[in-house]
Homo-oligomer: 145 residues x 2
């Protein structure tokens, strides 16, 4: 009993549009279709999509995931290859953590100096008008959900 796209969506927590998007970019193989053209997914698709979503949850890019899947598909992957990719990614995550920790400190200091008074003279604004000499990294502001 094959899964429709809606059911697959519910099972994986992955948006329908996103599933079709993964197909378009060649991450998820196009499934067989019903007579009328509806997608009918099987166990394989469920597993693969789960893999992709889990990878995304762990912060891998689609390209990382493509690489991982390539290894798995080839069947010739070694634990060492996968470990290398993962360690790489772990490094990224740690860099990002360090950036955010610094950020947190700066923001914390800024609000601490702010007395919240009703006067238009704010240490935060002042701080923003001053250039940094030791520049902070411009980490991408998270796309607010």
């Amino acid at each position: 009993m094959p899964l429709t796209i809606g059911v697959l969506s519910k099972q994986t927590g992955c948006n329908i549009e996103t599933i079709r998007y993964y197909e378009r970019i060649g991450l998820l193989p196009g499934p067989p279709r019903s007579a009328g053209g509806h997608r009918l997914y099987g166990e394989v698709h469920l597993k693969r999509l789960t893999f992709i979503r889990r990878g995304r949850e762990l912060g891998f890019t689609l390209d990382d995931i493509r690489g991982l899947l390539g290894l798995v598909d080839g069947g010739a992957y070694t634990c060492a290859e996968v470990k290398a990719l993962t360690l790489d990614h772990l490094g990224e995550v740690r860099r990002k953590l360090a950036d955010l920790r610094r950020l947190e400190q700066v923001l914390k200091h800024m609000v601490e100096e702010c007395d919240g008074g009703a006067v238009p003279d704010c240490p935060v604004i002042d701080a923003l008008f001053r250039a940094t000499r030791d520049r902070m990294p411009v980490s991408p502001g998270s796309p607010r959900p």
Copy 2:
């Protein structure tokens, strides 16, 4: 003595294309032009662009910054308003930090279980094929530079 866009770029560390982009989206006012059409910036622009860049470094979105600038431009901002925005953002940063810390743990465990052997049987891959019940947030994979 007005600044050309190239000089402004150097002084602020902001890419020329990005400066023009900020003008296009209405963050940075369009400066006067030379007879031939070149942009000629003044002190005001330098200050404003510095503000924008610093805001970005601190992880504010352009929309946040637009809000902050709106307050400043209005002249009627209070310290409390600014503080609220900043606290909001600090909350975001902290949420992101928490997410990344969890991520770090998971990745660390995964690579620890991985013996790096040459056999195609990897705990990392296995982990990826297993769905999470307690889902992790899909934080955007940082656009690799």
